[in-house]
Symmetry: C2
């Protein structure tokens, strides 16, 4: 683990009698226990060295979370840790890859509370163990603003088998894991708590939506089946409509989705009953971290079986069609829905 | 390349008629040309897939640069790009690894100037080509503050040959590449421009120090020799004294360095003549991105020869001694120098 360097407004530091700096001790105390891979050298070197499994391709992805952009400054540290790692694990799952490990850069305000880091590290350790994705190395910095965590995750697939966005074929069925829209509705609730009453949500429904925004549930349990059965896949981070459109563009195909077949939680259904216009939030809001896969009809039963074994719901929502690049969400009367903002974008 | 997700204070976006968002177009325009590795899929997927060279270990490192912490907000975008990549390349060089590629997360303020990103991407492309280290994937985000760039770099070494911090043995010679202290003095000049006059620097000397702070020169040209000849190595990011102490601690040895043998540029020597107390800045300031290596006497000539071939100076500055963990910088009168802050730390 490398501490970071010289800074324009550098601060005085203290060294313990052992010569280890406060930053070294912080790394040793909080992050070393998560670096269980022997090639991480207990975070005691500048880099990790790992022998990739023979015959495998490395699958590489990176994503960060920034306070005030991807999470709220008062979110619990445990949730921040889980979100930072899980949004990367979700990419690996959608590509059919098994997690190998991750690198992490964390920037903390000068005055961060030690308890914050303790909660963060505990949850990160739990998730690293749960998903078999150890910390391989990292970097600690001071942040001029709030907390920022950037993770690069490595996974593996047998050579040549990473599931691409490209590859969907006309006639493939479009399936999606879990339920759609909960996280985006949870975000609305965070910004407008009064919506819970307007939507007539009971306490459990409200909590379900808030939890789905706070802590993603990546579908790594089904990654192996995605790899075996899907002709193309993507995880839903920018919204079902936008991410399906990306898969369609990359594959050079179109997609017809029956809007009413999109799987919804009881909470999301209640919201939709109260305010039908929220269909746009549900289909385009993002942060679902479910998997959209195009699956050939002959592979469908195998995919469903794997999902059952993983206690995970998968739902057929539509069909891949030959018209290039046109993704339509069809209402029960056959009309295509139109969206004000089909996909999330930072710029 | 993944755009990033739902945000607490999400902004409206525009989609072009092709369905690609402003963020997609930004990635396509500026970063896709740097993603020359076929496994990066032109940044058109959620992850890269690369087949690691057979018989090799992957060497993995991550480091970030944050505006106001690691660079000045008014630094040129070209310098920010080069610093972000090169501090990671420097870690690979010190570990004896050849660059394989990198992942990048970049966060930009909502109102960034398009010209800024153009300069950044152009310099990043040049460095990616120069160091044969293509962009493999990435992530773009909005920053609530200034620009932040986090890079995870991958390198390779033949299996089991990564050069560690641990491994130095009593009797090894301690060698260092290039010159020490320039970048730290350059940072002093950035914060206190009047120092140039106090130190009697001519224009070229002043510029040399400023440049050394602004744009690191990682020693990847000598990485192969480090791997063949060094028993231990580390790059100098937190200061020569502090980073040598880390190597010593990891190796369970001590180090005696003759302070006057530490290689200095003409500019640094002029500073020292004018203000001898700046020896502390030089030896502990950091941001040098030179390599410290412990080299057995029998390997020394081979190491020197490789350095000559790479037109790189290497200088013997001391000897590894058996006393565990004691690193001494000895003045000409034999006294050990003491430092107020032996190494940089963010906390």
């Amino acid at each position: 683990m490398s501490k970071n360097r010289q800074s324009p407004d550098q601060e005085a530091i203290e060294e313990s009698s052992s010569g280890a700096s406060a930053e070294d001790r912080l790394i040793e105390k909080y992050f070393r226990p998560i670096a269980t891979h022997p090639g991480a050298f207990g975070l005691g070197d500048d880099a990790a060295a790992i022998a990739p499994p023979p015959g495998c391709d490395l699958v590489l992805t990176t994503d960060g979370v920034i306070s005030g952009v991807h999470f709220f400054p008062n979110d619990p540290p445990e949730a921040v840790a889980r979100k930072a790692l899980r949004i990367n694990l979700s990419d690996l799952a959608a590509k059919g890859a098994a997690p190998l490990g991750f690198l992490m850069s964390i920037a903390l305000p000068q005055d961060f509370a030690p308890g914050w880091l303790e909660g963060f590290a505990r949850a990160l350790a739990e998730d690293a163990a749960l998903y078999r994705c150890p910390l391989l190395g990292g970097d600690t910095d001071r942040s001029p603003g709030g907390v920022m965590v950037h993770i690069a995750a490595l996974g593996t697939v047998p050579h040549g088998t990473m599931v691409r966005r490209a590859g969907a074929r006309a006639g493939d069925r479009i399936v999606v894991t879990g339920t759609i829209g909960d996280a985006a509705l949870g975000l609305v609730l965070r910004k407008d708590p009064a919506a819970a009453e307007r939507w007539k949500l009971d306490g459990a429904m409200r909590q379900h939506l808030l939890d789905r925004y706070l802590v993603p549930q990546p579908r790594n349990a089904i990654a192996e089946a995605v790899r075996r059965c899907a002709s193309a896949a993507i995880d839903v981070s920018d919204g079902l409509a936008g991410d399906l459109a990306k898969l369609a563009r990359a594959s050079g195909i179109g997609a017809d989705v029956a809007a009413e077949s999109v799987p919804l939680s009881a909470a999301a259904r209640r919201v939709l009953d109260a305010e039908p216009a929220q269909i746009e939030t549900i289909l385009t809001g993002g942060d679902d971290f479910e998997i959209i896969a195009a699956v050939a009809p002959g592979q469908l039963e195998g995919f469903r079986g794997a999902a059952r074994s993983a206690s995970l719901d998968v739902t057929e929502i539509g069909t891949v069609v030959a018209q290039p690049c046109e993704t339509r969400f069809l209402a029960t009367d056959g009309r295509a829905l139109t969206f004000k903002r089909p996909s999330y974008s930072h710029f």
